[in-house]
Symmetry: C2
């Protein structure tokens, strides 16, 4: 292939992204930058966080520039290089973009990966990548989960939430998962070992809070938050004293023009809880350690990681929107080669 | 005096308390309970937290029962006793109620106090009591304030906030205080040493956020939160990376039938901030240490503590409402003997 297809952001979405916010173009395959290399991307991670990067708002990374391809974590093969540490033919992980070929430089997430022992290189975007490690470090290092504690997880059938629940069981927690719809709730208990599954759909905050209370009468020692909004407000009414809340994601409001936040903040005060805003990049220097542990648990059959692999850069928009419709079953990945 | 006047809660307030929610009655002076004592209350603390105790909602202490006097921290003199450790004539601090005489038992906050070295026994309800210690432990132990950090305080002219700002200066922080109206803002800089005073009145969240940004261009390393609502939403747009938020009070919503919460929770995630729900009772076993340090700073002239002393149990309602009108200037105390 001699062309580089690139999925560009050409307009900032107003609420939910529409196809007109993006454009697929073909350009020349670029040369390696000085001291860097060019990656042929094979698998691209599709994550809720990308929606935030499309807004022109202060965040932990700069917004995607209009006219640039949509930033994404990818795994691929080095196509050409100006750096002897990153030779052509090697598999590499990094923060690149939704495009066939990305210019890259060492630093940040960029690292060579050994794909010989894994079922698919895409695992480095799921269990052994930022998503699995978000679950791993968030539960073990931020929340410091202990045996016998009650762990409440929202977005529990999602890529992060499903791993959080399973690691929680490995630690010895009682796990209560919240997800949308009976199919996802069935997966919580059947596939991911949750002790209790709660369907939030069609319920008021009060009704959902009552269901959580029935499932966790002593309150939640740990809340692993991926959703926000009404779901989080119901959780906040069920905190144990001194609860730790890992604030990992707020997918319910990523497409909302107005931020939603929470109303029951006073419960954080009344229960002397702690809310930890959390980005996995904090643990970047320990990714190898976490990835090795995740790989071991997968090999032992103690950890199941599902991937929802969609195909084709031309399907990038439709694939991305699966995150917000709740259609994805497992870590959403776009295979482009 | 042979009668015991008691200020009873007879109806749960719907939003802002009204006089009809309370009744002042006269009863017999009680006898000491077994192993306990009776306090003649002299000074009663009036605090925003009391408003929360009037609601029938799950909180860190049970609600005040209808027909019971309004729970309050008091200092007074032991009137009669069935406990040799609490002999008549001694000054005592404790969680009692808005009434002339309270039955009390050892435990909790109840402790003998030495009033000989202080200007007024009421200091044990302000600088050397829960309010001053809330500032002391919240800033030094929860936020772990360090020299050179930027400290942003809401309710900065209030009893807690004014002490937080001054302790922040003692530690070596740059202090930015938010209060309502020019008179309070003048006190922030003239009386409490704040580097910058910001008046929140009449400003949108965006306008207030812009003023905070101008005062703290690098963002706030510490937010000491006493207010909540729009003020907190503006603060959240000005967090430094890794900011610590001490969630101490939410006075903006205590009289609101609907909880208000925050909309900019996503900033806690984006900035990897931590929100610490905080009740000073956590440090109860260190109150003597904290009180001694506060007393030393007051004696050295490094710490100014203002008290707004209202008089007469018959004025309890009007005095209490000063907390919510913003009329109080310093720690609000009701002198009843």
């Amino acid at each position: 292939m001699s062309a580089n297809r690139r999925f560009l952001l050409i307009r900032r979405p107003n609420g939910e992204p529409v196809p007109e916010d993006f454009r697929l173009v073909e350009e020349e395959v670029p040369d390696p930058p000085a001291g860097g290399f060019v990656v042929r991307n094979h698998f691209c991670s599709l994550d809720p966080a990308q929606r935030g990067w499309m807004d022109d708002a202060p965040s932990y990374v700069p917004p995607i520039e209009l006219g640039d391809p949509v930033r994404a974590t990818t795994v691929g093969v080095i196509h050409a290089s100006d750096n002897p540490d990153f030779p052509p033919g090697q598999w590499v992980l990094g923060m690149n973009a939704l495009e066939d070929y990305s210019q890259a430089v060492p630093g940040g997430f960029a690292m060579l990966i050994d794909v010989s022992g894994v079922a698919s290189p895409s695992r480095f975007l799921s269990a052994m990548g930022a998503v699995g490690l978000t679950a791993y470090f968030g539960l073990l290092e931020v929340a410091k989960a202990q045996q016998g504690e009650t762990l409440l997880v929202s977005g529990a059938a999602g890529a992060v939430g499903s791993a959080v629940g399973q690691i929680g069981k490995i630690v010895g927690c009682r796990t209560v998962g919240i997800a949308g719809g009976p199919a996802k709730c069935r997966r919580l208990t059947e596939d991911y070992g949750y002790d209790v599954a709660i369907d939030y759909k069609g319920k008021s905050v009060g009704e959902l809070a009552a269901e959580i209370a029935a499932a966790a009468p002593g309150g939640a020692d740990i809340v692993f938050e991926n959703v926000g909004g009404d779901v989080m407000d119901a959780e906040l009414l069920n905190l144990a004293h001194g609860a730790r809340i890992v604030l990992c994601g707020l997918i319910s409001e990523y497409n909302s023009p107005e931020k939603i936040g929470i109303r029951n903040l006073w419960q954080v005060l009344a229960k002397e809880a702690t809310v930890h805003g959390y980005l996995v990049s904090r643990f970047m220097d320990r990714f190898a350690e976490g990835g090795a542990q995740m790989a071991e648990w997968m090999a032992d059959g103690r950890l199941r990681v599902d991937e929802d692999v969609q195909e084709g850069l031309e399907n990038a928009y439709a694939a991305f929107m699966r995150l917000f419709s709740g259609a994805n079953t497992g870590k959403l990945i776009l295979k482009i080669a």
